[in-house]
């Protein structure tokens, strides 16, 4: 989590930066209409980080193409001249996946904002990659349809970025991730070739490249068009809120409700610090005296939802829920969700900075992981608030800190790293939905052994042998892992406390 991997860079010419920049400007000017490039210091400034602002780099230049052919021309030129290219959507990513390359081009897809076709009869929308996630559902709503994945940043994040990260959201337990809701994408390869992946049908010939592209963090190709599936809005949606006296009881209730055969559309858990912060921020009516809160949303036909709300209520009561409340109307339901969706900024008000972790764990390990985090929180004197996509085990601990205190960012990163490695140790993963980017590149060395990492690099090489697309992200080089000083943890073979610190 320290310096960016430099071993896998495409550009190794050692050419002075100004000279390289000028060469890019000259080369691309010949291919593109005027006004699509930004190269002055002031213009480049807004692009120097994505949502992970702790990492900043200034690209050589920013290019904002308007057509697929321009994207192809840029990539072809970059390949011929061995200049790295980092694609960027809205820049809301939380792992530094769109962190620019100092000797590279930042390829901004912000001008691709058209919904090309929305077909309610056939249940799809064909959109450009810069269309915002929520804009798709907004456009589909008059037809009684919506696009299911709903990451918390859905108001700003774009569908191209969602594909690159395989974004989730609060409803993916029932409705799946981006990969489950995209039918087809069009990409441009580093060779400048335009390729359609997937189909308007349920599968396509050859390998499942559509699955491979999802979550590939802009390392294999650049997405220039996306065909998404639209789902009918459920006729009935109800939200059940349950308060608990302990996080363990709440965690246990999650398992019990699933064991009862109920698959909620959303199932979210918040601990006390997150509840208090969200309530102060959104005034949504959360019980601030609860140790833990479950938001359990059920949707479907009214008959079904009524039955399931009753069953879920019984389960929660049996699991020691201290209070149950069903949102009285749509207004209250949305308000209760607003509290959850604004949990990050809400917690952000409690301290000058916060650091968001994105590990996923088997749900059975929840209380063990929470207990250990609370011990470390005391040890590091850094408060942690927890929001948790409980249904699918995706944990978002938010570490509160003050970057103005010397050394506190480093201690925060160290604590974050410890938590991620604990997630791996209990059988989970270092990232559930935010991606590896530059942030978790070191932890990848622990989750994957050398052979698996080399296989990843081989996959990358099949698409981009010169490693020009988003170099240094997502998959660490072996050299990087040696520097990281970590070793692969086979389940339980290496007790966690003996791991080196990072």
């Amino acid at each position: 989590m320290t310096t960016q991997n430099s071993a896998a860079l495409g550009s190794t010419t050692g050419e002075p930066e100004d000279q390289l920049r000028q060469r890019c400007i000259d080369g691309l000017s010949a291919l593109l209409p005027a006004g699509l490039m930004l190269s002055s210091k002031e213009e480049l400034k807004p692009y120097e980080s994505d949502g992970l602002t702790a990492f900043r780099k200034t690209p050589l230049l920013v290019v904002l193409p308007e057509t697929i052919e321009q994207v192809a021309a840029i990539l072809k030129w970059a390949k011929a001249n061995e200049v790295p290219v980092v694609a960027r959507g809205a820049g809301t990513g939380l792992s530094g996946g769109a962190l620019p390359h100092e000797q590279g081009i930042l390829l901004g897809m912000a001008k691709f904002t058209k919904i090309i076709e929305l077909n309610p009869e056939r249940g799809y929308a064909r959109v450009q990659p810069g269309v915002r996630n929520l804009a798709i559902s907004d456009a589909a709503r008059p037809h009684g349809l919506y696009y299911a994945p709903d990451p918390s940043s859905q108001i700003a994040c774009t569908i191209g970025g969602n594909v690159a990260e395989n974004s989730g959201g609060v409803h993916c337990l029932k409705y799946g991730l981006t990969v489950h809701n995209v039918l087809e994408i069009t990409v441009v390869t580093i060779d400048g070739e335009i390729l359609t992946i997937g189909s308007s049908g349920q599968d396509s010939a050859g390998y499942d490249l559509l699955a491979l592209m999802h979550g590939s963090e802009g390392m294999l190709a650049v997405t220039v068009e996306v065909l998404v599936k639209l789902l009918p809005e459920p006729p009935c949606t109800r939200l059940l809120m349950a308060s608990f006296g302990s996080v363990e009881d709440a965690g246990n209730a999650v398992g019990e409700v699933i064991a009862a055969g109920i698959i909620p559309a959303g199932l979210e858990l918040m601990d006390s610090p997150a509840i208090v912060a969200s309530e102060a921020f959104a005034q949504c009516g959360y019980p601030t005296d609860a140790a833990a809160l479950l938001l359990c949303e059920l949707d479907g036909l009214e008959e079904e939802v009524t039955e399931q709300i009753e069953n879920a209520s019984k389960v929660f009561t049996r699991c020691n829920a201290s209070k149950l409340h069903i949102a009285a109307d749509e207004h209250e339901r949305l308000l209760l969700w607003k509290g959850r969706k604004s949990a990050f900024p809400a917690v952000g008000r409690l301290a000058p900075d916060y650091y968001c972790i994105d590990g996923t764990i088997p749900r059975s390990q929840l209380s063990r992981v929470l207990k250990q985090m609370s011990i470390w929180s005391d040890e590091y004197k850094l408060p942690i608030a927890n929001v948790f996509h409980a249904g699918d085990g995706n944990l978002h601990p938010l570490i509160l800190f003050d970057s103005n205190i010397p050394g506190e960012l480093q201690r925060t990163e160290e604590l974050g790293s410890k938590i991620l490695l604990l997630c791996v140790e209990v059988g989970g993963t270092v990232t559930g939905e935010h991606g590896v980017g530059v942030e978790k590149i070191g932890e990848m060395c622990v989750q994957f052994d050398q052979d698996a990492l080399l296989q990843f690099h081989s996959v990358k090489a099949a698409f981009d042998p010169q490693t020009l697309l988003n170099p240094g992200k997502a998959v660490p080089t072996l050299q990087r892992c040696a520097e990281f000083g970590a070793m692969h943890v086979h389940h339980g073979e290496l007790p966690f406390p003996e791991l080196e610190r990072f």
Binding site: E193, D208, L209, L212, G261, M444
Partner: protein
């Protein structure tokens, strides 16, 4: 259920293939010979690699060894009120490894998702006999490329699957089938719109003039939905779905050539002669025909889809041929896992195993 970890022996077998540069066919239950086989002289069987590695019903995740019989896994899940939501075909003797390698999903697919949708992680051997693990036992995981889902439907050409972790779901409380008669044959216009209705439909098919719709969910929801849809409840029709899933209906017993054509459910009728059966709400079309493979592939491609020939005849083409960038990239991808092309040579898209087609491609571009 037998519980035996045969990883060491399988790794040894692949290592031997590497050492002797001799290709191998990977085989599970051998139940899907109608989907072809590799041309290697040696067969490596996964049948001794069996058993459930872990299964925690409240986590909705099962991890199972490739050689485990699908029938046994299904039984174990059912004992806990759960199932594989992609409704895999239960060909006699089928293993879970074979089902995943062929990427097969049953009638529920357009409504509940496909085999690859439910795969969370795999352990596998690549063409260097390296033992690799991708994904895991958790539902959300974006660490590294999604190599697990890439294996599904790759017919073993990217590696030997050892174990797979899959998401499972509760078996619906209640299920019923609605049957109705359309006024014309092969009219899938009604079923093709069902995915846009917020109803608990889990299968929809048309054979001749008969339309079948399956509803699954809570008793109340299924009853309410039945009132909103065409057709009468027909308990005898419940047996239609397993027959469709396993291609054991009389329709599939043909002297002609059987094709599976995958297109958008709303795609217009394809200009091919023969007998049709429409599954997946119209998105998976079965065709018994005397048309040539070229004609079938051309019609499928024109409709934006692809075709696969079912049948043991190894002399004719089976998979929709790929060309251009798609072929070149996928061939490179195969080589990135299995550079010496040891696994199932010639079975899946023979063009991936041929150097000449690529050379021509590059020469012409």
């Amino acid at each position: 259920m037998n519980n035996n970890d045969d990883t060491a022996a399988l790794q040894h077998a692949v290592q031997q293939a590497v050492d002797t540069s001799s290709a191998i066919n990977i085989q599970g239950g051998g139940s899907k010979s109608f989907l072809g086989k590799g041309s290697a002289a040696t067969t490596v069987s996964t049948l001794n690699h069996t058993g459930i590695v872990s299964y925690e019903p409240t986590e909705l995740v099962v991890s199972v060894r490739a050689g485990t019989l699908l029938s046994e896994l299904t039984k174990e899940l059912a004992a806990n009120g759960q199932s594989l939501p992609f409704e895999p075909p239960q060909h006699k003797g089928a293993t879970i490894g074979g089902v995943l390698a062929c990427g097969l999903s049953g009638p529920a697919r357009p409504f509940t998702g496909s085999a690859r949708d439910y795969v969370l992680g795999v352990r596998m051997l690549n063409g260097q006999a390296q033992h690799l693990r991708f994904g895991g036992d958790v539902m959300k995981n974006v660490a590294g490329y999604d190599v697990s889902r890439l294996q599904i439907g790759a017919y073993g050409s990217l590696g030997l699957l050892l174990d797979a972790s899959m998401k499972v779901l509760p078996v619906p409380q209640h299920e019923l089938t609605l049957v109705s008669t359309r006024s014309t044959t092969d009219d899938y216009s009604y079923v093709s719109g069902l995915a846009r209705r917020a109803l608990p439909v889990t299968a929809a098919a048309v054979q001749g003039k008969t339309q079948y719709i399956r509803l699954s969910g809570t008793t109340q929801a299924v009853r309410a939905a039945a009132n909103q849809l065409e057709g009468d409840v027909d308990a005898d029709a419940d047996a239609f779905w397993p027959g469709l899933r396993d291609q054991s209906l009389a329709f599939f017993n043909t002297d002609k050539t059987l094709w599976r054509i995958s297109v958008a459910e709303y795609a217009e009728a394809l200009p091919l002669s023969g007998d049709w059966l429409f599954d997946w709400a119209g998105a998976q079309r079965w065709l018994c025909t005397d048309e040539t493979p070229e004609a079938v592939f051309a019609a499928a491609a024109a409709a934006g889809g692809h075709a696969i020939r079912y049948g043991i005849d190894e002399s004719a083409a089976r998979f929709q041929p790929l060309s251009g960038t798609a072929q070149r990239l996928q061939k490179r991808l195969r080589d990135s896992f299995d550079a010496d092309r040891l696994f199932n040579p010639g079975q899946f898209h023979p063009e991936f195993d041929s150097d000449s087609s690529i050379d021509q491609e590059q020469a012409s571009s």
